[in-house]
């Protein structure tokens, strides 16, 4: 599904990713953990195509195609979804109108007709129930005045609507209370299939109790320095990151 080789990226001349390698196969869940400033969010943004970051070396392949030169919307049309750590507020555009526009733009890019209104409504109803989102919420301006938990739930709702091949959840657990965390994790698990893949970026083991990873990677100083299974996350939770840094010396 996703194959990243020797990825180097910088912002404003500052090198952040320094030779990152990662392979994610369809049907897998990968967790990326690591201390602050390790480059976790940068990795997510670079995969999604944020223009402020310059890729200086390496490749990002999605299903065999190099996507590193594509515009963010083209990557989205190819099935990349990023759940933002800080979703932006867009006053004046309702959640419903926004997601309709997003879906129809993707369909347009694939040469498809707009989704019939009836199908769209049905899908919105189905997916909002999955995320326990009530109707009134969908009429509100996108993210405007939403609580942290509402914003994250709205991200996963959009993910459910867009049905991406590769979903990257950037600290989706931050700002969530335990009930919201359960709803969000449950949503992600329901959307999982053998044909898609998920990358979970998190500081804490907590989310991984609900979304169980096949692999856990530790990102440090712009590259992956350790890979293990779910038990690695527990070990990190108990011992912190210092022991890994020491291992590296």
């Amino acid at each position: 599904m996703l194959k990243i080789e020797n990825l180097n990226a910088e912002i404003d001349g500052k090198s952040i990713l320094k030779g990152l390698n990662l392979e994610v196969k369809a049907g897998e869940v990968h967790a990326i953990m690591g201390p602050n400033g390790a480059g976790k969010s940068t990795m997510a943004n670079v995969i999604a195509g944020k223009e402020e970051y310059e890729v200086t070396d390496g490749t990002i392949e999605l299903n065999g195609e190099d996507i590193s030169e594509l515009a963010p919307e083209e990557r989205a049309h190819n099935g990349v979804f990023l759940s933002f750590q800080y979703p932006v507020e867009i006053p004046g555009v309702s959640v419903t109108n926004f997601i309709k526009t997003a879906i129809n733009e993707s369909r347009k890019a694939q040469g498809l007709e707009e989704m019939p209104a009836k199908d769209m409504l049905k899908k919105i109803r189905e997916k909002s129930e999955l995320l326990e989102i009530d109707r009134k919420f969908l009429g509100r301006s996108l993210n405007e005045g939403f609580s942290g938990g509402e914003k994250k739930r709205n991200e996963i709702f959009q993910m459910a609507m867009l049905e991406p091949k590769l979903a990257i959840l950037d600290e989706t657990d931050s700002g969530l209370d335990i009930d919201a965390l359960r709803i969000v994790a449950n949503g992600v698990n329901k959307l999982k299939s053998k044909d898609n893949a998920v990358i979970v970026i998190t500081h804490y083991q907590r989310l991984l109790d609900y979304i169980v990873p096949d692999f856990v990677h530790v990102l440090h100083d712009g590259k992956i320095v350790k890979t293990g299974n779910a038990s690695l996350a527990l070990e990190l939770e108990a011992k912190g990151y210092d022991w890994i840094k020491q291992e590296l010396v």
């Binding site: 195509g49 963010p72 989205a76 867009i90 006053p91």
Partner: protein, 437 residues
């Protein structure tokens, strides 16, 4: 010949065509002398520091087009809000078009200034209101000097006008460059209500200069809802001089949508002559190329317990320039005034310019006056967010601009006007917004 000289020397001919033996003509003559003395405004005047009319004044305008060009309804239907039933007062090259108009005298007068100025039965209204609040400045004086035609609307008290009134000035440019000076008078009686849509539309690319004056008198507890749609050809320039006097408990709102035209100057003046008045001034400006839009607003708070709300949004592309000069005067007697002014601008290009100047003169001590002015760029993070969800950059930018302008759009009370404005903006931005905002 310079335009000023041309105007001055045409006055004798003008006087041969109008009734000079009237009070109105006395007003005109005085205004003529005033214009002769003042001439056109130059950038030496503080109020015209950022707007130069020089390039516009150079044209050789036809001042009194006398050929009346035929227009087919089908050709101009798009410029009307045709989805709704409405009264229409339509002019072609400054001449009334009965064919395109729909006037009334039934319960109120929606008709012509030329009729009102000449017929005895309108005399009391003309005497009481004509040129009573219009300023004696350069361009208003020029308009007054030549005032003969425009819309005349008189609503008696306790009357709700059942459908909106559209005032449209078409120019055909059949005589190359054309100068127009429409003059509107709108009198709204106590406890009455009216909605008005005004538009200027050139039908060719020959230059047009319109210098319009509109006086609005809103009596006690009346409600006036006014929309100005400025989406003219790039060769058409407009100076809009509007004067609004409000009595106690009245609400007057003016929305100005500036998308088209070459140079557009809006002088919008509110005078509050009673208590518990609300004055609402809102605008959206979206321009590009070398377009120029200047909003000069004045709200004069004279009596206590009144409010004013200003909200102007501007989006400037390419080398376009904007001016916002919002003046609020709160007199000593005007205690408990609540004056709010907001002016937000987005410069899409680094060659676009906005000159923004809030001006508050407050002589009362127990008032709430707030003003905010911002100049910024489109939010890159928001744009990336939308692109990440599959919305292409152009559409994403358009959505952000809609979102930015939405506080003004959402207060438009006629749904068809709101839809039309949304459509004009979408066309302008080259996108197809698949939903109503």
């Amino acid at each position: 010949m310079e335009l000023k000289d041309k105007l001055l020397s045409s006055y004798v001919a003008f006087e041969n065509r109008v009734n000079t033996n009237s009070d109105v003509h006395e007003i005109r003559s005085e205004a003529f002398e005033k214009f002769e003395e003042l001439g056109f405004p130059t950038r030496n005047l503080e109020a015209w520091k950022y707007t130069s009319l020089n390039s516009v004044l150079k044209q050789d305008y036809s001042l009194f087009p006398n050929k009346i060009a035929a227009i087919e309804l089908a050709d101009v239907k798009q410029f009307f809000i045709h989805e709704i039933d409405s009264y229409k007062v339509v002019f072609i090259d400054g001449k009334y078009s009965s064919f395109l108009s729909q006037t009334t005298h039934e319960n109120y007068d929606v008709c012509l200034m030329s009729a009102a100025l000449n017929k005895e039965k309108y005399k009391p209204v003309i005497e009481k209101y004509f040129n009573k609040i219009a300023k004696q400045d350069n361009l208003t004086s020029l308009n007054t000097a030549f005032a003969t035609e425009g819309a005349y609307i008189n609503i008696p008290k306790n009357t709700e006008v059942q459908k909106p009134i559209q005032i449209i000035n078409f120019t055909t440019g059949s005589e190359t460059a054309t100068m127009l000076q429409p003059r509107n008078l709108i009198v709204v009686g106590e406890n009455s209500q009216v909605q008005i849509i005004e538009r200027h539309q050139s039908l060719t690319s020959n230059p047009v200069l319109t210098n319009i004056v509109t006086e609005i008198f809103a009596d006690k507890a009346s409600n006036v809802d006014y929309y100005k749609i400025q989406n003219d050809e790039i060769t058409a320039s407009l100076v809009d001089n509007s004067y609004i006097e409000q009595q106690s408990n009245s609400v007057v709102s003016v929305h100005t949508f500036s998308f088209g035209g070459n140079i557009t100057r809006n002088n919008l003046n509110f005078y509050q002559k009673g208590e518990h008045i609300d004055s609402i001034l809102k605008g959206i400006t979206i321009i590009e190329g070398k377009q120029h839009v200047d909003h000069h607003t004045l709200v004069h708070h004279i009596e206590p317990n009144c409010e004013s709300h200003q909200d102007y949004k501007g989006i400037f592309n390419e080398r376009s320039t904007g001016v916002f000069n919002g003046k609020v005067i709160v007199e000593k007697e005007a205690q408990k005034t609540n004056a709010y002014q907001q002016n937000n601008n987005v410069l899409v290009s680094d060659r676009a310019t906005i000159n923004a100047k809030p001006q508050l003169e407050i002589f009362a001590d127990d008032v709430k006056c707030s003003h905010g002015c911002t100049i910024g760029q489109l939010d890159d993070d928001a744009l990336f967010y939308m692109q990440q969800r599959g919305i292409p950059q152009k559409e994403g930018k358009a959505l952000l601009m809609f979102a930015f302008a939405n506080t003004v759009l959402e207060s438009v009370k006629i749904p068809e006007v709101k839809q039309r404005i949304t459509k004009i903006i979408a066309n302008k931005l080259g996108v197809n917004i698949g939903f109503d905002l």
